[in-house]
Amino acid sequence: MANLKKLLAGAMALCMAGAMFASCGNTEEGGSDSKSNTTNNAGTNDNKGGEDGGNGGEDGGNGGDAAGDLKEDKLPNVPQNVEGSEASKKVLKIYTWNDEFKSRLRDFYPEYDKEASGYDGEKVGEHEYLKDGTEIVWVTTPNADNAYQNKLDEDLKAQADSDDKIDMFLVEADYALKYVNGPYVKPVADLGLTDADLADQYQYTKDIVTDSNGVLEGVSWQATPGLFAYRRDIAKEVLGTDDPTEVQAQLSDWDKFNEVAKKMKDAGYFMLSGYDDAYRTFSNNVSHAWVNNKMQIVVDDNLMKWVDQTKEYSDKGYNNGTSLWDDQWNADQSSAGKVFGFFYSTWGINFTLAGNAGDDLQGQYAVCEGPQAYYWGGTWMCAADGTDNPETVADIMKALTCNKDIMLDITKKTQDYTNNKSAMEELAKDFSSDFLGGQNHIALFTKAAPNIDASKAGPYDQGLNESFQAAFKDYFLGSVDKDTALQNFYKAAQEKYPELTVAE
C-alpha cells in the first residue's frame, strides 16, 4: 500500500510539473466520459458548464486497464489553491451512518472498480476507486446521539467555503425532508435524471424527497411497503383459517381488526406485541402534515385514533406491553411468543422476523395487507449542493435506482425490495417464500406499494413521531391522563423545534 502511495505521489508530481492544465484536464474528461448518457444533461449544470462542455467529443469505452492507468495520474487529497479544489473533484465524498449503501455500491454499481479497490465481496482495500479513477471517500458517522445528522449539518453548512466538497449523502425517511426542504441538496433534475428515468419508481418514494415546491431532491433504490405478518398456527386455532385472503378479510379495517384482537385475547393470545406496533399504519395515513403553514403543530385525528386504540389494547390486555426492539418484543416473534402478528415491511419480514422466528417457525408465518397501507424504513441518496462530481453522482443514481436489470439483481442477491415497479411486478409473477410457507409476498408488496401515501411527510416527522410515542406511553401505562400526555408531547416538541407553536 505504501508503495502504491509513493507511486501515486510520483505520478502526480510528474503530472503537475509537466503540462498541468493539458494533461490533468484531459485525463479528467477522459475519466468522466464513460458515463456518456449523462454528459448531455450535465451540461446544464449551473457552475460547471464550461468544464463539462468538452466531454461530449470523446468516446466512452475505456477498458478496465486504461482506467487503472489513468487513476495513477489522479492523486486524491493534494491541496491545490484552485477554487473547488482539483483534488476534490477526483474524490467522491459520501456521507453515511452505516455500511448498507456501501455494499450496494460496491456490489452493483458497474463503474465501481473492484480490482483497484481490492474488493472481493467482503474485504475492501485502503482506498476505493471508480473505474474512471475517482476515489470514493466514505464519511461514516454513527446514528447514536444524533451524531450523524450533527456531523452532516456542520459539514453541509461549511460546504460553500470548503474546497473539499461533499458529493453525496444518505438520509432516512423520517428526516429526509429536513434536508430536502433545506438549501443543501441539488435537485435530481439538475443532475440530469429525467422523469422517464424515474418513471418506474414508486410515487411514495418520490414524495418523501420532494420539497415544498414540488422539486424532487433524492432517489432510493428501495421501496419498503408494509404488511401484517401473522402466525398461521394461531390463525387456524382462533380464526379457523390461515389462508391469507380469508385472514385479510377479517383484518381489512380497524373495526374488524379490533374484533379479532378480542378473539385473540379470549383465546389466550395477544393481538400485537407492543404499544408502537401499529403506529406507522396510522401515522402514514394522516390527513395533514405535522406542522401547518403557520408553523403550528397540529395533531392529526388519525394519530389520536392510534392513541385510543392502543390505550384500549393496553387496558384490555390485547398487547404484551413491549416497546419496539425490546428483547421481549423480539422474543414475541419466536415460537415461545403468544402474539398473533406484527406490522412489518419488506426488510423486516425478510430479515428481522425471519431471523427472530428461527427454524421453529419456518413456514409458520403468513402475510396480508392489514387494515391500511404503510411503509417502514428505506434509505435515500441526495446529491449535495456544490458537489464537484455531479456526473458521477447522477450516474450512480441512475444505475442503482433507475436501471431495471441492476435493480432486479439487487433484489435477487440481497432481498431488498427494489424501487422499480416493472421489475418487481415481473418478479411477483412467480415467487414463493419458504419462510412464509410458500406464499408469494412479493405480489402483495406490489399491490400494497402503490397505495402508500407519503404526501403528508414533513421535515419534523422524526422528532415529532418519537416525542409523540414517548409522551403517550405514560398514558398507556396509566400514569397520566390523555390531556397531560398531550401537553407533555407539546413541551418535548417545542424543545426540539423552538420555532413551532401549538395550534389551538
Binding site: N150, K178, K473, D474, L477, V480
Partner: protein, 311 residues
C-alpha cells in the same frame, strides 16, 4: 523564611502556566461563547438546518428557563436523587471494603477482589446501560428470578415505574464506581503512617475505633475528593439514564437529568437556550464545589500553620 519564598514565586507561575493555557484555549473560549450565546435567540430550525437568529434578546432565555412550566427544578431534583441513590451505598461499601483491605489484622487475600471490583468501571457507560437493560428486561434474568421467587406469572416492568427505573440507574452507577472509590480510599489509607495503626493495635483499640479515630480523619482530603468527583459525575450524568429511560422521556421524565435536558436543546442546536442552561449549570457547579470545599476543609487551617513556615 519569608524572604526565601520571593525568589521561588516565579516557579509557581511557570508551573501553573500550562494548565491555564490549555484551559483558556480549549475550555474558556468555548465557555465564553456559550455564555455569550445565552443572550441571543439562536438556533437551527427544522431540526438543524435553518439558522434562526442570532437576535439579541437579553435575559429572555433565562426567563424561559426559570419559568415554572420548564420544570428546571425537577431535572435538578432528578439529578440529585439519582446521584444520592448511587452515592450513599457507594461511599458506604467503599469505606467498608477499603478498611477491610487495609486491615493488617484481618490479613485478607484481596488481590483478586481489588481487580474485580474495579472492572465494571472499564465498560463504557453506554454498554453498561445496554447490559443492564437486558438484565432487567421483561424477559431478562432478573425477572425470571423475580417471577420464580414471587410465583407471579407476569414480569415486573422495571423501566416503567419511577423508583424501579431510578434504582436500576443507581445500581449501575454504584456498580461502576464503588471499585474506583475503594481503590482511591485504599491508596489514601495506605498513605497513613502504619506505625499509627501498630500503636493503636498495641493499645488494644478495636477495629472500629481505629477506623473512626485514626483512618477517617487522616483520609479526609481524599474523602473530599471522592465526594467532589462523585458530584461532578452526578452533575454530568447522561449515558446511563439516557439508555435506561430511552432519551429520558419515560415515566414522565422522572429520571431526566440536567445534562439530558441540556441535550434536548442541542437537538436543534439551540445555542440560546442551551447557553442559558449552561450558565445556570455553571453557577450551580461552581457554588457547589466551593461550598463543599470550604465546608469540609473548615477545620484544616490549624494543621496548615505547621506547614506554613516552610514556604
Amino acid at each position: 523564611m519569608k524572604h526565601k519564598s520571593i525568589s521561588y514565586a516565579k516557579w509557581g507561575y511557570i508551573f501553573i502556566i500550562p494548565f491555564f493555557v490549555a484551559f483558556i484555549l480549549f475550555n474558556l473560549i468555548p465557555l465564553v461563547s456559550t455564555f455569550y450565546n445565552s443572550l441571543f435567540e439562536n438556533y437551527l430550525g427544522r431540526g438543524g438546518l435553518v439558522q434562526v437568529g442570532p437576535n439579541f434578546i437579553g435575559l429572555d432565555n433565562f426567563k424561559t428557563m426559570f419559568a415554572p412550566e420548564t420544570e428546571l427544578g425537577k431535572y435538578f431534583g432528578n439529578t440529585f436523587i439519582l446521584w444520592i441513590l448511587g452515592f450513599i451505598p457507594q461511599i458506604f461499601f467503599s469505606l467498608l471494603f477499603a478498611s477491610w483491605f487495609t486491615d493488617l489484622r484481618m490479613k485478607l487475600k484481596t488481590g483478586a477482589y481489588k481487580v474485580i471490583f474495579y472492572l465494571p468501571n472499564v465498560i463504557m457507560a453506554a454498554a453498561m446501560g445496554m447490559l443492564f437493560y437486558t438484565m432487567f428486561a421483561q424477559n431478562g434474568p432478573i425477572n425470571s428470578i423475580y417471577m420464580s421467587i414471587t410465583g407471579k406469572d407476569s414480569p415486573y416492568m422495571f423501566f416503567d415505574n419511577v423508583w424501579s427505573q431510578r434504582s436500576v440507574i443507581a445500581i449501575i452507577n454504584f456498580l461502576m464506581w464503588y471499585g474506583n472509590t475503594t481503590i482511591m480510599l485504599m491508596a489514601a489509607i495506605n498513605g497513613v503512617d502504619p506505625s499509627l495503626y501498630e500503636s493503636a493495635q498495641i493499645d488494644g483499640a478495636t477495629p472500629s475505633q481505629t477506623f473512626w479515630k485514626i483512618t477517617l480523619p487522616l483520609i479526609r482530603p481524599i474523602l473530599l475528593y471522592v465526594l467532589i468527583t462523585s458530584l461532578i459525575g452526578g452533575l454530568q450524568m447522561y449515558d446511563v439514564p439516557q439508555i435506561i429511560t430511552k432519551n429520558g422521556e419515560q415515566v414522565q421524565r422522572t429520571s431526566m437529568t440536567v445534562v439530558m435536558y441540556l441535550q434536548k436543546h442541542l437537538y436543534s442546536k439551540n445555542y440560546g437556550m442551551a447557553g442559558a442552561l449552561s450558565v445556570i449549570l455553571f453557577v450551580v457547579a461552581a457554588v457547589l464545589s466551593l461550598v463543599v470545599f470550604y465546608v469540609t476543609t473548615e477545620r484544616e487551617p490549624k494543621k496548615k500553620v505547621k506547614k506554613g513556615g516552610i514556604k
